[in-house]
């Protein structure tokens, strides 16, 4: 029995505590915005916030989430996610779209943690864990700069 909070709601799951958070979210809670790309912390498609920090849900067992607070792409709120989503649409970032929830989670985390506008090097450091097979990187970079401007960083 694992108890935690997902997108502001109390959740109790009676499944194997070894189950990666990714599959609990997708298969048991039907929160499918969080994606599977590799299962071994190599691609970032499964990125969620755990207690406010970005985390690869594919390598996070449920047992580690006990009592914690998980936020997925569906439950993100605040000025940073709004600015990021707006920039993503304005610059038309996604192609196939499969990696984009993870990209947006990492980008939002970067902006939440930035006191000033992130540089290209900051973006490289924060986003290098997120693979985009469609290689939308030119636009991801542009959209993060754009969101930072909206947030007046």
């Amino acid at each position: 029995m694992t108890q935690f909070i997902v997108n502001g709601q109390d959740v109790t799951l009676d499944i194997d505590p070894d189950t990666p958070l990714l599959w609990a979210l997708r298969d048991d809670l039907h929160l499918t915005g969080t994606k599977f790309g590799c299962g071994v912390a190599q691609c970032g498609a499964c990125t969620v916030m755990l207690n406010g920090m970005p985390r690869r849900s594919c390598v996070t067992p449920l047992s580690m989430v006990e009592g914690g607070e998980v936020t997925t792409i569906e439950g993100m709120t605040g000025p940073e996610i709004e600015a990021v989503k707006q920039a993503w649409v304005a610059i038309d970032v996604p192609q196939c779209g499969w990696c984009q929830s993870g990209q947006i989670m990492s980008a939002t985390a970067l902006l939440q943690q930035s006191a000033t506008a992130p540089t290209d090097a900051d973006i490289d450091a924060a986003m290098a864990g997120n693979v985009c097979r469609c290689a939308t990187y030119v636009r991801i970079r542009a959209a993060i700069h754009d969101a930072a401007r909206t947030l007046e960083l």
Partner: protein
């Protein structure tokens, strides 16, 4: 997929709108207005519940285009909707798009004569058809408004989604039902290109918003009541067969419901992915590898290299080769090796099926409905009409979902059949399954030889290519002509260069490793071989890479010349080395489009780092420049990833040596160059953009690297190094 595939299949007659229906929408509120192709005119009306047409106008004024092309990131939903909206004079805000279901009779790719997406044909084959759909719907809306208002049709106007006459104004929704009863115009006029207001302008894609908030529905996101997740234990080597398995330990895993033998291997059915993963791990399976590919990549390369050396069968010959070499003052030779490549779409392959009361419904990113639907029907023993495939968004494909063998359709059909009961099943592959799963870009060897005379003319050019055929042994085999598969060497022949003599040869190789089209198909290796070898030849002849190419082009090669000159101008081309950086140029024509690229490269610890890319593209009329730029940017990143990192290799005994992104690395953001794209203005009908951005990047990069370091790249990828 190949441009030859496009040519080889019977072209279908242009299907134009001819029939309409009125339909109460699922919610009971939406009046729908369907336009179906002329081909069905003689037949009985299809059941009204099937959304079997291209266009639906809702009472809420939304216009939904049913896309006959799979949306896997290349933008066809937006492109087809643009064509319809242009002629319909809809406002862009009211446009929507969704996937059309599997139905050859309605949704054939006019380039193939059957329903399928590939060969960068989505816009080219829809260019006239979808504009006709829009123009027809427009004429019928006008007729409906004229009848309702009692005014001449010629006086009714439509602009930006508003129908008007004098002071009267209305949206489309109010007239959708009446419009459906109006006579169908035989040949509604299409706009003159000078009147286009949407075509040629930037628009964000219709599917973008859902891809930024987690709501876009892909195959893996589908849930059905009582659904089981299925993982398949697959052979450890290509061609290995199942001997026996022990499922006791697997069945003891909580959540595992059953284990079945299917053609692809041993299927584990479980409640949820994690239980299926654990169940599959607990299986004990014995395989027989006697008939399998046991050669390592090194051994396969030696065999293919020997075959290329022997010359293969002649697929193109011009002039007197022997005389050409005899007249040469110098002879340049080279061999270039290309490994097997996995497509590695970000969403690994998957499919969902639900079987209930003798009918099957599927949801997945189905790229070749024409092959998949009958395959599922046969596997289940059902008539084709009782199989419905809902074609939904795919998280990338790059050719991987376009299977002539229909092996995923076969697998999901067998999974449902072997369950022995009604129910819903989701099959998915892990990244390891995907990388080990074959259907690779064919491993290929090119052997090239050129003679140059004292004046720097190329007197002889030969290229022999050894690889497996993609079409052979599939339903596409019928399209091979004289035993030759053009996808094996496309891009190496019919070059617009002036050579004194030339010969292109192809040796068809065999292996149990299944191969498939991979974003730009034959051009993935031919452009690299031709354009890097030519670069060496031009240097030996004392010529500049850009000017040398321009001088070598035949006079009629105007579009080739334009993209080369444009890319050179964009990059401010001043030769191959400047301020410690290397510059390389290459171009290719693929899928009807012309692309030239200049790559700027730096030496970072002995490895190439691409800093900037300038890209000139001529794809005919630019329907949506935003999408064209996106596809060039994406194609460049995809090709750079490939040149730097991609290699599927077989170890001793034939097992695949890579398993996940740690040893099959993907390009990451810090390695992505800045990209500038210029689209050549054109009045020629549009051609593809999904694939053509890929071929020139690798050779332009290698040319820049050789200019900078003197190193010739004779094997891809560049020597491996971790990028994490």
């Amino acid at each position: 997929m190949s441009s030859m595939f496009v040519k080889a299949l019977q072209p279908a007659p242009l299907l134009l709108p001819s029939r309409r229906m009125v339909l109460a929408g699922a919610a009971g509120l939406t009046l729908a207005f369907f336009i179906a192709p002329r081909g069905l005119r003689a037949q009985a009306p299809a059941p009204i519940t099937a959304p079997n047409a291209f266009l639906r106008i809702g009472a809420d004024d939304t216009v939904t285009v049913l896309s006959k092309h799979l949306e896997m990131g290349q933008g066809p939903y937006t492109g087809l909707a643009t064509l319809v909206a242009e002629e319909l004079d809809a406002s862009w805000d009211q446009m929507r798009a969704e996937g059309a279901p599997a139905d050859d009779s309605l949704y054939a790719n006019l380039a193939f004569g059957a329903q399928g997406t590939g060969g960068s044909t989505a816009m080219a084959n829809s260019w006239t058809q979808m504009r006709m759909v829009g123009a027809t719907a427009r004429a019928m809306l006008v007729a409906a408004a004229a009848a309702e208002w009692g005014v001449p049709a010629a006086e009714v106007r439509i602009a930006e989604g508003v129908i008007s006459h004098g002071d009267r104004r209305s949206g489309f929704g109010a007239f959708a039902a009446r419009a459906a009863t109006m006579p169908m115009p035989e040949s509604p006029p299409l706009k003159d290109p000078s009147a286009f207001r949407l075509i040629g302008t930037d628009r964000p894609k219709l599917d973008t918003v859902g891809k930024t908030n987690g709501t876009a529905q892909f195959t893996m996101d589908i849930h059905r009541e009582g659904m089981l997740t299925v993982l398949v234990a697959r052979p450890p080597a290509f061609g290995a067969t199942l001997v026996s398995f022990d499922d006791k330990a697997a069945l003891a895993v909580p959540g595992v419901e059953m284990v079945r033998r299917i053609g692809a291997g041993v299927a584990v059915y479980a409640k949820g992915t994690y239980a299926a993963l654990k169940g599959r791990r607990a299986l004990d399976v014995e395989w027989d590898s006697a008939q399998a590919e046991r050669r390592s990549t090194d051994e396969i390369f030696s065999d293919f290299s020997a075959a290329a050396e022997a010359g293969g069968q002649t697929v193109e010959e011009e002039g007197d080769i022997a005389a050409g070499f005899a007249a040469a003052a110098q002879i340049i030779e080279g061999e270039i090796r290309f490994p097997y490549l996995a497509h590695a779409p970000m969403e690994p392959l998957d499919a969902v099926i639900e079987v209930k009361g003798g009918k099957a419904e599927l949801w997945y990113g189905c790229q070749f409905p024409t092959f998949d639907r009958p395959t599922v029907a046969k596997a289940l023993g059902l008539p084709v009409e009782d199989v419905r495939i809902n074609v939904i968004l795919a998280g990338g494909s790059f050719g991987r979902r376009a299977q002539g063998s229909a092996h995923i359709a076969q697998e999901i059909g067998e999974i449902a059949k072997a369950a022995g009961r009604d129910g819903a099943f989701k099959m998915l592959m892990t990244r390891e399954d995907d990388l080990h799963g074959g259907y690779y870009r064919p491993l290929t060897v090119h052997r090239l030889r050129a003679g140059i005379d004292d004046a720097g003319n190329i007197t002889a050019w030969t290229n022999s290519i050894a690889n497996q055929s993609i079409m052979s042994g599939t339903p596409m085999e019928a399209m091979m002509q004289g035993g030759v598969d053009p996808t094996s060497f496309e891009g190496s022949n019919a070059l617009p260069y002036v050579f004194g003599s030339r010969r292109i040869g192809w040796a068809q190789m065999e292996s149990p490793v299944p191969v498939l089209w991979w974003r730009s198909v034959g051009h993935t290796h031919t452009a690299f071989a031709v354009e890097t070898f030519l670069d060496r030849v031009l240097e030996a002849a004392g010529k500049d890479p850009l000017q040398g190419r321009l001088d070598l082009l035949k006079p009629e090669a105007l579009r080739e010349r334009a993209v080369l000159e444009t890319a050179g101008r964009m990059a401010d081309w001043q030769g191959p080395v400047k301020d410690g950086r290397g510059y390389g140029i290459a171009w290719a024509k693929s899928f009807g489009s012309y692309v030239a690229q200049v790559v700027e490269v730096e030496d970072r610890d002995g490895r190439p780092h691409a800093t900037r890319v300038w890209c000139a593209v001529d794809c005919g009329i630019a329907i949506n420049p935003n999408v064209i730029r996106a596809q060039m940017e994406g194609g460049i990143g995809y090709a750079l990833s490939t040149a730097l990192y991609s290699k599927v290799s077989l170890g001793p005994g034939g097992g695949v040596e890579q398993s996940n992104f740690h040893d099959y690395p993907m390009l990451r953001i810090h390695e992505m160059p800045a990209v500038e794209v210029e689209i050549i203005r054109s009045s020629v009908d549009p051609t593809g953009v999904g694939e053509p951005g890929v071929p020139p990047l690798g050779p332009a990069l290698a040319n820049a690297w050789r200019a900078l370091t003197g190193q010739v790249t004779s094997e891809l990828p560049f020597p491996m190094q971790s990028n994490v």
